[in-house]
Amino acid sequence: MSEPGPPLEQLTRRLAETPTPFLAEPRFGSQGGQVHVDALVADLLRLHGLTVEPAALSVFGGGKAASERNPRMLAQVLCWLLADPALLGRYRAEALLDLLDGQARALAAHAAARSFVEDGERREELVRLSLRAAGLRPAGESAAVAEDRWLSVSTAERVRIAAASRAAEERARQIREALARKAAEESADKWGRE
């Protein structure tokens, strides 16, 4: 059973006002941008009064920009959100790390990290997800209403993702077929061949 947390609007507003440095480029080992996400996560844990083995933070410092840039930026956004004074001390370390890594990764696979700052529906989804990870619900909502709203935003998102994946697969199939046609192969009029 969830417990009442801060009002939804307080947290969605906080997201909408995410300071620019939290949207800057993440660093990967010795490469990439300015944000040392592992240090950011360590600071967040400290604010929450939590300690973890340094090895647990290594996942936020390395990896490849090609696959990790977007999830890492979403982790940065989450670090800002979860530093809201009303949330401090409400999480277990494992729940916080799972939110910042696994759940952020799942969300970032389908949407740009920035959209969780700029888009109203996505802000609500991220706030509700974050509250649930602490066993909280928005202030003023009954447990049933909070569950309903969560199902509504997360289902809408799942439906969108499923539709987009189906469309993407169909599109990729069409392209592969189009390129494999005899006509595609034999037409290539250029004045020079590489």
């Binding site: 490469q31 990439g32 599109r171 037409s187 009029d189």
Partner: protein, 454 residues
């Protein structure tokens, strides 16, 4: 419209074909000295494509080429935003960064894994064509393209030719270009260039197996009298052995490195400019060699060129690294930080942005007899004076060398070996092989010694 797998007809291959065009096609194909044409192909350019190509030609003609991506020019921000919205692979990158260098690099292997993920959502799959390429890595790749993209090549070829004082002037009833191959198996066909007033285009294979009589090769070239001959070092080396009178207005080398010695021989024989264009299927014509600047002049105005280190980080202007491209004119395959596998430095020379010290593929170091490491560029320099069509140098695990040099007259061979020995150490063991003909792209430099990749 035919079914999906059906053979296209002439109406699809040559939209808007008129009677003079049909006659020219027939004449090129059925000429008594014509080769055995193995295939059929066409420009597929529709009226709407030709209008767009006219605008594109004007844009390329007037453009100033500035390959810098920082500070991010407006066109680049727009290009990246579009790519990160409409292209499945780039969508995963998230949102537009402040600097291009904050985005990951991509490479040929990424395209080869699934080219469909690089084609924008709004490209009409029905009009896709492909360019098939093996490169020197042997990793096959099917590049997504479009008839209009193939047509855009000509604007860049014209831009390069203009630098040598050549304005194309062939038109209806004439042959604009003959593309020369020298391969056992070669895609050969005849077509027309509506962008060049309907001038003819023939792609032929100089290999004797493709001709009823090998003597027909010279007679056919004289009959077609093309304004431009386009080819690669292997087909040009074969061309030099044919006795024909026609003098094209220009030669264009569009595949594989053209060594200076062969360029000089071609210039002497044909008395025309030999334009060496650095081009790849993934990005089209990128630059051309200007002997006056001793550098490759960049050709594309909507393309950022970065030179990056091993990690994909940009190096300062003037430093060597891997040529990495963003942008380009193939709207079916937008490139974002595409690592080409070719190496050079980027700098300004004579008021223009150029690539200096251009070398295909990654640098390889060779260990001399005295135990010093030398760069493959030193080998390139040492072999510059010789009219080799192609060559390859390999250092084996026991530090001995094998050298393959193609198309060089026997009398010149000792001098090549002497130049190599001067570089690698007097008495360095070099096993040399001198085939008259090459068989395709070669991996130019290889070494089995540890530490050879720098």
């Amino acid at each position: 419209m035919n079914g999906l797998d059906a053979e296209p007809d002439d109406a699809e291959r040559y939209p808007g074909l008129d009677e003079p065009g049909r006659l020219l096609l027939e004449w090129m194909r059925e000429h008594p000295h014509a080769p055995i044409f193995r295939n059929r192909s066409g420009h597929r350019l529709q009226a709407v494509d030709l209008l767009a190509l006219k605008d594109f030609e004007a844009e390329v003609r007037a453009a100033t080429v500035d390959p810098r991506g920082e500070p991010m020019p407006a066109w680049l921000a727009d290009f990246l935003t579009q790519a990160m919205t409409r292209v499945p692979h780039y969508r995963g990158y998230g949102s537009l960064p402040r600097r291009l260098a904050d985005l990951p690099t991509t490479a040929r292997a990424d395209l080869a894994r699934d080219i469909a993920r690089f084609v924008p959502d709004d490209v009409d799959a029905g009009r896709l064509i492909n360019f098939r390429t093996t490169g020197t890595t042997g990793e096959p790749l099917l590049v997504a393209s479009h008839p209009q993209v193939a047509g855009r090549y000509l604007s860049f070829h014209r831009r390069a030719l203009r630098r040598f004082g050549i304005e194309l002037r062939s038109g209806a009833g004439e042959v604009g270009v003959v593309l020369l191959g020298w391969q056992r198996q070669c895609f050969t066909y005849t077509s027309l260039s509506p962008q060049q007033g309907g001038a003819g285009l023939a792609k032929i294979n100089l290999h004797p197996d493709d001709w009823r009589d090998p003597a027909d090769r010279a007679a056919y070239l004289d009959a077609l009298a093309p304004e431009v001959l386009s080819g690669d070092p292997l087909s040009f080396a074969a061309l030099l052995e044919l006795d024909f009178a026609h003098r094209p207005r220009a030669l264009m080398n569009t595949s594989m490195a053209l060594l200076p010695g062969l360029r000089v021989r071609l210039e002497q024989r044909f008395g025309c400019p030999v334009v060496d264009i650095h081009s790849m299927n993934e990005a089209g014509p990128i630059s051309f060699f200007d002997p006056a600047l001793d550098a490759h002049v960049l050709l594309q105005h909507r393309m950022v060129v970065e030179i990056v280190d091993h990690e994909g980080l940009p190096v300062p202007d003037g430093e060597r690294g891997e040529i990495t491209l963003t942008g380009g004119f193939n709207f079916c395959l937008p490139l974002v930080r595409y690592r080409t596998g070719d190496f050079a430095a980027l700098e300004r020379r004579g008021g223009e942005w150029v690539l200096t010290g251009f070398e295909g593929r990654a640098p390889v170091r060779f260990r001399t007899l005295a135990g010093q490491w030398i760069n493959n560029i030193d080998v390139t320099h040492a072999l510059k004076p010789f009219a080799l069509a192609q060559y390859a140098l390999r250092q084996h695990a026991d530090a001995s060398f094998s050298f393959t040099g193609t198309g060089l007259p026997p009398g010149d061979r000792p001098a090549v070996l002497a130049a190599l020995q001067a570089l690698l150490g007097p008495g360095a063991p070099i096993a040399a092989d001198w085939p008259e003909r090459g068989e395709g792209k070669l991996v130019q430099y290889r070494s089995e010694l540890p530490g050879a990749m720098g």
